[in-house]
Every structure is written in structure tokens, then in C-alpha cells.
């Protein structure tokens, strides 16, 4: 852009680049503290089970064993990350109580002098578990008689009395009735890992002044501090979180999983405690992106206008919902896509299964909507005999259009962006598409009355 700015808009060399590429940047787990202990977790070997007993007596005889922590040791044994912004209910335990709901759920923390001793003691904790039926598919989980994952009796997160996040604009059924075509599709996506270079971890250090310094790679220092303060029932001023340099997050390090238990271990032992996920824990235990199943039903006119869109989405939250309920709301806000559709109905369900829990990930409820919608757009184009560019220009939203969530569009530039992409790849757009802008309808005499 041509305006008189000095440094904004210039590609100055990134201030931490040399450190990153030469390996000199200090990350959380690079801190070395004298007398540091190592924490490793005993995890559920079953997808769903009742806990009948935990026996740590053999583990305690391993040379180097220092301390075992179970649910009874955690002052407020509930992990409700979005409790800070008022999201309920409390559903997850820091260390398992009564039941385990996914394979890999944290049950007993072992603190030892070395990593080897900690692993050996973990292997010697005896678990008495009664296996329960498990459910892994979002639609199976909603059927009557399905195994119940939650403690409130059904497998959906409740949104102010509804089992799904709803969006309603216009009259979808009436528009389907007068549409020339109905286009339906079902889209599935797999759960995936954030796969950061640096695995999730922290080091909690008791200080001489009675405070605890926690070196962490969280994406959100205060989110982690405040949640740790609640779980450990200690005032925030006893906690000092240090981080700010993270080796890849992608949403996975917005969870607050390692800091509370490492800090508790430091309190109980009065020693520094290191708790850093192995790669296998990062892959198999840390939150993933939810799997999604998205049903789309579109009513389309013969000339390619989408006049109605019905979306029914299921996010596989796994055993605990963490940040996923919020992702469903973001999904619902974006599930009709960057298009002007006058009749929209969206039901977005956050469904519990006995799978590794899910949470935030890059694109938070939108990435998978974009996949479904943009494949669907090509199907519509083919059906009505338009090319993939034209169908998108024809339906693109403009500034001032009413979105399904009833906020008027502003900063709409889809049309200009598509024109730039066409120019980049040498695709010659028809003159009427080249002449379009995202300006409010009517101002340029474009079609204003939508079917």
C-alpha cells in the first residue's frame, strides 16, 4: 500500500529468526534446574472403564521413586478450561475419578529422581478396572441405548437448552419447495494432531519466597496461570508463569494439561518437577482436532443461485469437550460460507465419544466447514452447468448482506480475491465477473432482489 509509513509494511528480518534456525532459542523444556524431578503419567489402557482400585505399592519400591499423586491429592480436581469465560459444566478430572472415558486418560502421576525411574514406577502401578462398553461414532453416540460418556445422561453438549448450536434465517423448507434442484452431500473428516515440533510440557520450580515459577510452552500464559490457580486452590500471586516462546502451537497448547499437575507435584515434594510429553503422548493423549461429519442440503435455482442451505454437523468431541463447544459456535457462524443465502438452518452438535479428547486447532470449526462447502459448490456448479468460478461469483456475499447469524457483512472482499486468483493463474474471467465488486448491492446496479 502506498502511504507514508516507515516500518509497518516492510519485511524487516524477524527478530528471533537466527535463534530459531541455529538452535540457540531457549524453549520451556530447555531450562535446567538443579534437583529436578521427573513426572510421568499412569494412563488408562481402556477406552471406557470403572475404576475399582489403584495400587501403587510396587511402584513405591522402585529406586528413585519420590511420590505418587492420585485424584485425592488434587485440591479442585476438575479441569474446565472455559470455566474462565463462563462455559459449563465441569466434566473433566485432572486425575481420573470413578471412571476413565478414553484410552490414555491420566490416572496417577509418578514423580521420580530420573525419567527412567519414573517410567519403571509407572509400569508397576496396578490398575483394577472394569471395562465398560464404549462408543466411537458421533451418530452411534446419539442413538438411544448408546453407552453414556458424560455424567449428565446424554452425549451432547447443551447450548442454553438445545442439544446443538442453532442458526436460523428465513424459511429453509419453503425455499427447498420452490428450488429447481436439491443438492445433498455428506462430508467426513478425520481427527488429526497438531504435531508441533516441540511437545507440550513445563517445569514447575518452588522458589525461596514461597512462590512457584512455571516455565511453560502454553499459547496463553494467563489462561494457564488462572486455571492452575483454580485447580490447586492457591492465589494467583503464588504463581509466576514464564514462557512466550513456543515451538509450534496450532491450538494444541491452549489446553492447560501439564501445568497444574506439575505445579502440584512441586508443592508436594518441594522440588522442581519436569513434565514434558513424549511424542507418543503428544500423538495419542493430547487433544486432537475433532473429526466432523457434515450433512449439507442446498436448494438451488436453475440459474445457479443457492436459495436455501441446511447444515447438520456433528463434531466428535471425544471423551471431554475442552474448547470444542466454542468451536461449534464458530462453526455455526461460518457454516453457510462466504455466500449470500437468504434461507439458512444450521444445527451443530458437540458429541461425546470414548475417544481422545479434542480441543482448539487452527481453523477452529471453520476448516472443516470450508472443506464441505467448497466441494459442495463444485457439485452445484456441475449440476446447473456452470464452471467453478462462476458459481462462486454468482453467490458471493457483498458488504451489507445479511449473514445467517444476522450481522451485516462488512470487509467482504471475496469477489476481489477470486479475481486476483484468476489473474494469478491466467484464468480469463468473463467480463461481467471481472467487473463485479463486493460493494453493497444496488449501488452498482447489480442484482439486488435475490430469488
Amino acid at each position: 500500500m502506498n502511504d507514508p509509513l516507515n516500518v509497518v509494511g516492510r519485511s524487516v528480518e524477524r527478530s528471533d529468526g537466527i535463534g530459531h534456525v541455529t538452535g540457540r532459542t531457549v524453549f520451556a523444556s530447555d531450562h535446567v534446574v538443579p534437583g529436578m524431578l521427573h513426572l510421568k503419567m499412569v494412563r488408562s489402557p481402556l477406552h471406557h472403564a470403572r475404576i475399582r482400585g489403584i495400587d501403587t505399592s510396587d511402584a513405591e519400591r522402585v529406586p528413585g521413586f519420590v511420590r505418587a499423586l492420585t485424584a485425592a491429592d488434587v485440591p479442585h480436581n476438575r479441569y474446565t478450561i472455559l470455566g474462565l469465560i463462563g462455559v459449563e459444566p465441569e466434566e473433566e478430572f485432572v486425575l481420573a475419578e470413578e471412571r476413565v472415558r478414553f484410552k490414555g486418560e491420566a490416572m496417577v502421576a509418578i514423580v521420580a529422581e530420573t525419567e527412567e525411574a519414573a517410567y519403571e514406577a509407572v509400569a508397576k502401578v496396578h490398575l483394577d478396572l472394569e471395562e465398560l462398553p464404549a462408543v466411537f461414532d458421533v451418530e452411534e453416540a446419539l442413538k438411544p441405548g448408546a453407552p453414556v460418556v458424560t455424567h449428565w445422561g446424554n452425549n451432547t453438549f447443551m447450548y442454553e437448552g438445545h442439544p446443538c448450536r442453532r442458526v436460523r434465517l428465513g424459511d429453509v423448507e419453503a425455499a427447498f419447495a420452490r428450488a429447481d434442484h436439491i443438492v445433498e452431500g455428506v462430508y467426513d473428516t478425520s481427527p488429526i494432531e497438531h504435531a508441533p515440533t516441540e511437545t507440550t510440557g513445563c517445569i514447575a520450580v518452588p522458589e525461596a519466597n514461597g512462590r512457584y515459577t512455571v516455565y511453560t510452552n502454553t499459547q496463553a500464559l494467563y489462561f494457564s496461570l488462572d486455571n492452575t490457580s483454580i485447580i490447586l486452590q492457591v492465589p494467583g500471586n503464588q504463581l509466576h508463569f514464564v514462557g512466550g516462546t513456543v515451538g509450534g502451537g496450532f491450538g494444541g497448547k491452549v489446553d492447560v494439561i501439564v501445568e497444574p499437575i506439575a505445579t502440584l507435584a512441586a508443592m508436594k515434594t518441594n522440588r522442581p518437577v519436569r513434565y514434558v510429553y513424549s511424542r507418543a503422548e503428544e500423538m495419542q493423549v493430547s487433544s486432537t482436532r475433532s473429526a466432523w461429519r457434515i450433512y449439507l442440503k442446498d436448494g438451488v435455482t436453475a440459474d445457479g443461485h443457492i436459495i436455501a442451505r441446511k447444515v447438520t454437523s456433528y463434531a466428535d468431541s471425544g471423551a471431554y469437550s475442552r474448547q470444542t463447544p466454542y468451536a461449534l459456535t464458530k462453526h455455526a457462524a461460518n457454516a453457510a460460507g462466504p455466500y449470500a443465502i437468504p434461507n439458512v438452518s444450521i444445527d451443530a452438535y458437540c458429541v461425546y465419544t470414548n475417544r481422545q479428547p479434542t480441543s482448539a486447532m487452527r481453523g477452529f470449526g471453520v476448516t472443516m466447514a470450508s472443506f464441505a462447502l467448497e466441494v459442495q459448490m463444485d457439485k452445484i456448479a456441475e449440476l446447473v452447468g456452470l464452471d467453478p468460478w462462476t458459481i462462486r461469483f454468482l453467490n458471493a456475499y457483498h458488504d451489507g448482506d445479511m449473514k445467517p447469524h444476522r450481522k451485516l457483512a462488512e470487509d467482504a472482499t471475496l469477489i476481489e480475491t477470486m479475481q486476483a486468483a484468476a489473474a494469478l493463474v491466467g484464468h480469463d474471467l468473463a467480463p461481467d465477473l471481472k467487473a463485479m465488486t463486493s460493494a453493497p448491492r444496488g449501488r452498482r446496479g447489480e442484482e439486488s432482489g435475490r430469488p
Partner: protein, 336 residues
Amino acid sequence: MTKLRGTGIAAVNYPTGMNLGGDPSQALIHATTSGSFVVSLSATDLGQGLKTVIGQIAAETLGVEFTEIVVDTADTDTGPHDMGTFASRATHRVGNAVIAAALEARQALLEVASEELEAAVDELVFDGHCNLMVKGVPARSVKVADIAALAQFKYGRTIAGRGSFMKPKSTVDPETGAMDPDSTEAHACTVADVEVDTETGEVRVLSIRSAYEVGRQVNPALVQGQIAGGAWMGMSHALYETTAPYYPAPDHSPKDFSEYLMPGPLELPEIECVVLEMPSSNGPYGVKGIGEMTANSPIPAIVNAIYHATGVRIDSLPVTPEKILRGLDAKRATPS
């Protein structure tokens, strides 16, 4: 064996910021004796370059060189509250907070300079290179560093500023879904070219070419880095990644990078982009968030390109060679 080529497109929007707001970011700035400025944050840099762009925004607003800014993103004892680095919010939210803090610090600096130069505050201008002067009188110029030192040792003043930015928290109407889910919207359109091997089902992505509209670019090289990284990640989602290869069955979950597949350097396609800048009304210098969205449009663009190449529609991710071969078999079995 046949290798079939196809092209696919996808167009997307992406909202900036936590969708319902209520996500504050705060910043503090103070001058050192040598005229450098320390920006204290509790926001984190995930490797995307937040420290760099925040340094640029602070330098721009203060009117000093980028090299005079130290950004500390480290510590809950020294950095004021920040909601966190996620939701494509950091440059937008923290940038706005830093502008507010920088304006307050700048005012403090100008007041000291005003006394020292015996000129009214509104007569003073920055040259963007660490000098202050009386408007139209270059001879009456003074270094920012000298004013910073004088503030400490002659006038006993602080040169400091506080800044906060928060979009107020809103709610969702549970019946209609009426809500305010964004601060601004960025846009992308991706064109993917692929080659599908009909014998093995393997997909080679030949190119991912995109246009992005991201408001103001604070640092174009870092924007390009996001676009290239996101193109790779989107390609990886489209074709490779899964923690449950036989979803919904939970078995065979990978435990390391030899089992969790991602494209390596040899699989990397040609990645090209063009960036449009149409400033937002509420971002720092017109910024919109580009952090998350760059992985989005490549996914459907690649899946659409596979259909264009083969005539096989695959509606489930990842699109593995097995799914393509089964699709080709089904297509052969169905007389068209």
C-alpha cells in the same frame, strides 16, 4: 498406468479474533535511558513472528527505528494480561493494545521534548528515524535517545504508556443463532493442480496458487511464510494426516512421525501467492488476521482437483490412495 491431471478451486472467508469477543490484550511500554523502548506483553510468539510485527507496530507509532524496540513476550510478573495467541487474534488485538500504549508513551516523550526545545507539543514532529524536531525547523532537532535520557536524569519523568484492546463480550441467541462472531474477515481463493496415478492412487500436488486479502500486511515476508506453511498444512490434511486411520475405529493410532504421515520436502508443490490489502476498519493500521486460515482453502481445492482429474468424488478426509483406487473401481463398474 495413467497419470491424470486436474485443477480445483476453493474460496473462503475467515473471521479475526475470538468469535464472541471478551478477549482482552494489554501492553505496557517504557523507555530506557538510551532511548530504546521495551514492550512488555504476556502474549506468546508461536513461531509465527508476533514479536517482530509487534516491534514494527510499536516503532511505527512511537516514530523510532524498529531496532530500538525490545519486545518481551515472556512473563506474567512483568507482562500485563493477554487472553492468548489463538483465533487469528494476536496481531489484531495486541497490535491495537500496543498502539494505545505507544501513543501514551509518545505523548510523555513529546512533553519532555516540549520543555527541552521550548516549543509547543503540537509543533513537534518525529522523522521516523529516532529524531524529534520543531515542525519546519530542522535545525531545532533532538534525538529521541537524548530526550529519554533527559527525562530520567534532568526532569525525573517516566516515558511510559499503557494500552488495552478488547472487543466486548457478546452472546448468542440460542433460538436464531444471532451473534457477532468476528472483528473483521480475511479472504482467500486457492487454485490447486494435481496429478493422480490411477495405478497406485497416489496424488502428486503440482502447485498451490492462492490470492489472499488480509487487510494491511505488517511484514509481507511473514505473511508469505504463513501462506506457504498453511498451504503445506492444508495439503497434509487433505491427503495424509489422521490419528484414526480407520475412523471411527480407534485402532492403529500413530505414535510418532514414522506412522503419522505428512508430506516431506520431496512432496512439496510449487507454492505461489498474491496478496491484496484492503484495510479493516478496526485492526492496527488496517490489519486482519491471517494466522489460521491459510490451511483452509488448499484442502477443498485439492479435493476438487482430484475430481477434475479422475471423475471420482471423495467426500472424506484424508483422501488416501486406497479411497481413490476404490473410487476408480466403482466408477469402472458403473456404466456411464
